[in-house]
């Protein structure tokens, strides 16, 4: 069959292809910076280096959106990456406390953190049979939240950033998990405050200043429930 294409259609298709090509390139470049920054921020120790890298990625994302390219919305990008960083930060610290509690790095960093803000990570550290933090209830939180909440949150954030429907759905689920985690954990901090804040360098205010950054689940819930679900794909 002899197929002919009108010149105007050919031009517009070519323009569209170019547009998608440019959009894909811009998204890839922004993600490269964002992901590198997020990975460094997720380790905590490399955070000061990761933050400017992350900001550079975010500015590339904003620029691409302003230029009219077909890229991931900035708000989806920000919510997705913040949740991923929050999940990574929690996973890393608690995984160290759970399985590497006798390593030199852990005994140095976590007990220093304990000495500064939260004596749950200093008081009788490594004295229980399970090792790591000995504060009342702490290990139960580690066991419940690390494999269920934070691992799932990390997977959900990746699906969300890929604009998959399951990513959006699991973000909703795991952000509500986050509410349970925060309500319980803050109650624990208050009930056992005499253990956790006694003789630390910055009691109460220090812990809150540091931990308030983990509040991303609450910030994300209204957005996740009001965003247009049609922007997420089934495939």
């Amino acid at each position: 069959m002899n197929q002919t294409t009108s010149p105007s259609l050919a031009t517009s298709t070519k323009g569209l292809d170019e547009h998608y090509d440019q959009s894909r390139k811009a998204q890839r470049q922004a993600d490269l910076w964002l992901m590198s920054g997020a990975i460094m921020l997720g380790t905590l120790v490399l955070g000061p280096i990761g933050f400017p890298v992350f900001l550079r990625g975010l500015s590339l994302q904003v620029k691409a959106q302003k230029a009219g390219l077909t890229v991931r919305p900035v708000l989806v990008t920000l919510v997705g990456y913040l949740v991923a960083i929050d999940a990574a930060l929690n996973s890393f610290g608690w995984a160290m406390d759970m399985i590497a509690h006798h390593s030199l790095m852990n005994r140095t960093i976590l007990t220093m953190w304990g000495n500064m803000f939260d004596a749950g990570y200093f008081w009788h550290y490594n004295e229980l049979w399970i090792g790591g933090a000995s504060a009342p209830g702490e290990k139960a939180w580690v066991f419940a939240l690390l494999p269920i909440v934070f691992s799932m949150r990390l997977a959900a954030a990746i699906g969300f950033l890929q604009m998959k429907r399951w990513g959006h759905q699991w973000m909703v689920v795991t952000c509500w998990f986050g509410v349970v985690a925060w309500v319980g954990y803050v109650a624990n901090m208050t009930i056992f405050a005499d253990v956790r804040y006694a003789n630390v360098v910055f009691p109460v205010v220090g812990w809150w200043l540091y931990d308030i950054f983990y509040i991303s689940p609450f910030l994300a819930i209204p957005y996740l429930h009001s965003v247009n679900r049609e922007i997420f794909s089934d495939s």
Binding site: V186, Y197, P203, V204
Partner: protein, 45 residues
């Protein structure tokens, strides 16, 4: 038209519920913070 009104009403209800949830959650966190600050002021930490 009726359907549109229903969706708007549902949307409004959802927004209100989300605002109520935010107030509840931040209220809880603030209360816990204030309880801890009170403890800090009366204890020998």
């Amino acid at each position: 038209m009726k359907n549109e009104q229903f969706i708007n009403r549902q949307d409004l209800k959802r927004k209100r519920a989300l605002i109520a949830f935010q107030i509840l959650m931040y209220g809880y966190l603030l209360t816990m913070f204030l309880v801890q600050m009170y403890m800090y002021s009366v204890r020998d930490w």
